[in-house]
Symmetry: C2
Subunit: 333 residues, 2 copies
């Protein structure tokens, strides 16, 4: 049985946090057994809105790779690649750009929102505007059938499939393959401040690479129920970040249910719940941290993994590009 | 003494005509001794407005190469390359796109005019909009210092130099080199119909590959002075395409001056002047046609020239890309 191909990845703009683990990394660890998985470190995409700070992108390539390896992504099972090391992705983008109109790109709701978020209204870098086309190149280069996305990224999948259909139709071929969005079953983990999104810029994230000391400090500072002032007060579990994290990481459902009931009734202090979360997170993070430490000792080995993954990925992308050029009859030799 | 580097080229959308010879090919034959000359067959650029008809682009690669070789472009002196065979050009384009705003591209007067000419107002392919950035990649990849252009293409040179300055400034480097526009001393040759531009779509061109029979027919049908009805009538030489062609191709200035005077006074028929032009053009075209016929017998040899030129060009572009990536600190290995 042929395994289906899946493409995932991250922009290398910061270390990965427990929200990334819940939202995608744990699924990748599972998927590497079920699928032919490509994991892309999207440095070129990161540069579209970090072109003034390429050093950040550079530095985070190793960080993100360390995060991957430390959570159990196995380079024997998953192909980890660096986007900029596959020239074919740029070449495909150039050909696809002929098949997409400016109006279509400007209609992309995700890009529209991001343009405002990033303050690009006054001077929109074209590289940023066209990144959905570049994503289409990434997805189609590996003939990915499955692409895990958040709901806000659905327009990217639609754009990709439009390009696939337009290409196949224009050049009377079927070399490009439509892809399917895979939504995470798990909802997005809130920040330690109770905010709906965890992120570096929000300073509300627990990183996979955080020390035990950092984790302890961050958990002790987590937002709980603001009306739960005294231990004896009844507290709310819903929207309480500490309980949400327990929900995500505590394998012992029975004890968790008891804790919740006790907290709701009153008589259970935040500190006690937080202590449980610290111990639960430590149980989860300490083997990850240990593996990370091991790989941190030998960065050349990590770079070799990235180089070899990129090489392997390039062979696949080169094959697709060859088919694309043949379909366009521009395979001259 | 280091030779200066010059980049020229053509979109492979049709065979080249005598207007191309006067406007640029003859200069390239000269420049290949004075400069380090790259001549690019710009197939990717041709595809930006011919994406629906890639076969046309494909077919004309060989035609244009045959035209080059037949007029005396020497692959030992000039590097003839096919744009799509240099992946580095696409990669450079991707990085440069981050440094150019959409508003800036939309302001490009040449592109604005072309958008209307091509009927792209209603659906502008992004590939077409960004072709000035792709040109900047072409020029800078080879570190071309000189770029022969028509006046209408001056905005392309400006766009390129803006990108060069922006890149060098953003990444605190001097790896990219500003280029200089070189204008043709010779004015553009008019069409056989007296129109100001010679072109395939206008059906008013004499091709370098036209047979003697075709040339004769085309010259006999050329527009002269519409008021020169009878032989004895005085005729106008200015704006008379037959005299303009004689001006361009007749080496015998003295005889030409006599002819002009005779024509102005009256008593010199169009047929006689046209016969002279036919003989002058034949003298010019027959060795070109002969060389073309020789190369046509061995298209594999022509393709080998293109492959080897592209390989040689790729080494240069790869070196530039390496420097570009190093300046951006994204040279990971």
């Amino acid at each position: 049985m042929n395994k289906r191909t899946i493409l995932t990845g991250d922009r290398p703009t910061g270390r990965l946090h427990v929200g990334h683990y819940i939202g995608s990394l744990q699924n990748r660890v599972k998927m590497q057994d079920e699928c032919n998985q490509f994991i892309m470190i999207a440095d070129m995409q990161a540069l579209t809105d970090n072109f003034n700070n390429p050093q950040k992108v550079r530095d985070n390539i190793l960080e993100v790779a360390l995060d991957y390896l430390s959570v159990g992504i196995d380079p024997q099972k998953s192909t980890i690649l660096i986007q900029s090391m596959i020239p074919e992705l740029s070449e495909l983008t150039m050909y696809y750009l002929n098949l997409v109109t400016l109006a279509r790109l400007q209609r992309n709701p995700t890009v529209k929102t991001e343009i405002i978020q990033k303050g690009f209204e006054k001077g929109l870098p074209v590289g940023f505007l066209i990144y959905p086309v570049s994503q289409a190149a990434d997805i189609t280069a590996f003939k990915a059938e499955l692409v895990p996305v958040g709901e806000d990224q659905l327009p990217m999948i639609e754009q990709t499939n439009e390009i696939v259909r337009r290409f196949n139709n224009t050049y009377n071929t079927n070399v490009l393959v439509e892809c399917e969005a895979v939504f995470s079953q798990v909802k997005r983990l809130m920040g330690t401040d109770g905010g709906s999104k965890m992120g570096k810029s929000l300073n509300n994230a627990i990183y996979l690479s955080d020390s035990a000391e950092d984790v302890k400090k961050k958990v002790m500072g987590m937002m709980t129920d603001p009306n739960h002032l005294r231990i004896e007060d009844p507290g709310k579990v819903e929207g309480n970040s500490v309980f949400e994290y327990l929900e995500a990481f505590d394998g012992d459902n029975e004890t968790l249910e008891e804790l919740k009931n006790h907290y709701r009734k009153g008589g259970l202090g935040d500190v006690e719940v937080k202590k449980r979360l610290i111990s639960v997170l430590e149980e989860f993070l300490s083997p990850i941290r240990e593996r990370r430490n091991q790989f941190e000792q030998k960065p050349e080995e990590v770079m070799t993994i990235l180089r070899e993954g990129s090489k392997k990925a390039q062979l696949v992308a080169a094959q697709t590009l060859e088919e694309v050029k043949a379909a366009m009859t521009i395979n001259y030799f």
